[in-house]
Symmetry: C2
Subunit: 374 residues, 2 copies
Amino acid sequence: MAQEYRIDPWGTAVRIEYEKLFKYFGISEFAPLLPRIREVFGEPLHLMRRGVIFGHRDYERILEAYKSRERIALVTGFMPSGKFHFGHKMVAEQIIYYQKLGFEVFVVIADAEAYAVRKLDRKKVIEYGLYEYVANLIALGLEKNKHTHIYFQTNYEKPYYRLIQMFSRRVTMAEMEAIYGNMEPGKVIAALTQAADILHPQLEYFGGFKHVLVPVGADQDPHMRLTRDIADRFKSELGFERPSSTYHRFQVGLDGNKMSSSRPDHTIFLTDPPEQAVRKLKRALTGGRATIEEQRRLGGVPEACTVYEFYVYHLIFSDKELLDIYRRCRGGELLCGECKSYATELLAKFLEEHQKKLEKARDRVLDYAEPPEF
Amino acid sequence: MAQEYRIDPWGTAVRIEYEKLFKYFGISEFAPLLPRIREVFGEPLHLMRRGVIFGHRDYERILEAYKSRERIALVTGFMPSGKFHFGHKMVAEQIIYYQKLGFEVFVVIADAEAYAVRKLDRKKVIEYGLYEYVANLIALGLEKNKHTHIYFQTNYEKPYYRLIQMFSRRVTMAEMEAIYGNMEPGKVIAALTQAADILHPQLEYFGGFKHVLVPVGADQDPHMRLTRDIADRFKSELGFERPSSTYHRFQVGLDGNKMSSSRPDHTIFLTDPPEQAVRKLKRALTGGRATIEEQRRLGGVPEACTVYEFYVYHLIFSDKELLDIYRRCRGGELLCGECKSYATELLAKFLEEHQKKLEKARDRVLDYAEPPEF
């Protein structure tokens, strides 16, 4: 392994220079909030405890609001560009965690953006939206109540579209280009739509003011900055407050590169037959050494191991058990073969159970979301 | 008068190089259609007969469709940026002419564009939309039937917004810049919205396919070209056919420059108290000569006269009477004082009658259009 990893039991297989985000963009570290989260919310999500969620903006406001029993909306979205994989599951778990705490939930299926910017087939996009994204959210435990809103961007309420139109007044092309690079009409609309996705839950029409929390990937912060600026610019006219946000690391693909629907050999989907998922995980890049002898002597590098990352994100919920694996790996005691066997066992078990729920969930997608007619 | 005018009894006070439109952009002359219009529709509108409507694209298609009893939508819009003046009335008369022929009517109140691009106050824009534009349309004779659709851009149906999103996929920023110059986000949305305004009546959701006719000012042809291109690009996906269009000249203000809400001294509004309107018209630029003697000798120049233009567009509906005034003016027989007296008399009479209808019409605006809540 040429790269150097910081020793970190919650480590990730790719180093992203998160420090830059803290230093230059004013994102705050999430870890110091954990005691307060425990106090206000109870047990933090494993993704919080393990630093997968590593940064935030104005999260304190969410904690205060929760303590004062004010309304809070959890807003997030999915691009229905392919099958639902474990990277998506991580976001779903955050949604469900906050829903259990009593947050109102707004989930946008970004079908307009998938069609206009990603240039995907419209029918496919709608089908993925319903039968991959909505279905998996249900199977993972998203409840349907009067505060659960899952919507397609092309099939929502008038005041949402009105926001997109209105926002266009107070955003310049120069600002957009600074964030998104070269702009095309589809990207202009997608960016303003995203701001409407985040801010619309505060409108009277959508039930009146609520604080907004948006869990996003680290790369999405420019959107958050633009949306926070838009909130400021429409504060007097529409009464908006800035949204809060959290930032999570991305789980990598099984070869250490990007996890993506377009890289199916290195990405495990929640619909993969367990045998197939197991085969993929068996071939995954680990932090093992060249020889067994060397590994016994030097220990493995869990920070560089995509299997270990699966434990951190998805397969092991006890921190104690996870730390034990970490120590045994680093100590040269636990070798990759044994470790992979255990991981595949947990993975197969999860998938079997999940896919049973998913089958039932598919019959219920239309209770959760209304797809566009075209 | 330094400028030279073509002798033309239907002439306008400003020369616009309409020939360029014919030559370079493929707009066809409207006049040759008149016999066929008489045959298919009956008596042409005075604005057609007098060359105010001077050009078209694919109007033959509309005539054919009408003859075959196919459905046709007349689509047009108003920017609610101020009070309703005689320039707007000319468009209203076209709408009403086609409605009487049985066309379905779609009138957009461009409140999103007024707010986002023109940067007007939102409440004002909505108020103008209802109590100036919708009210005057009703007072001028627009009927409410199941095929009359007047809508605000920010308060319409989902599939309309879906079109805006979808169109953004197949339009480039370079194309838009070629048409509109420097693009800002508000202009991108306004341009795509305009295409949706024109094309949406063809959708199943809005009652299924109909041919579309759009009467516009000569300066609006670039929008038409973009929209026709968009129709082509979505033909297979959404079944669109290209819209047809007609092109009209603009009546000028009373000083010979632009007629505009922002130039109230030179623009007559349909809500002006008759005395005030009369005062404005009395001061209007005419085609008179420096002295009475000279005018008796050389004759007046009706082509340069804003009062004569009022006759052409609004005050005289008999071509015979109009031609008589034209000849008497050119012959030096009719002088400006007498002519203005007659014009102000007709104008005052029109305004008195119109304003009675307008008072009643204001109570009915909500039967015609639903304003946005914010």
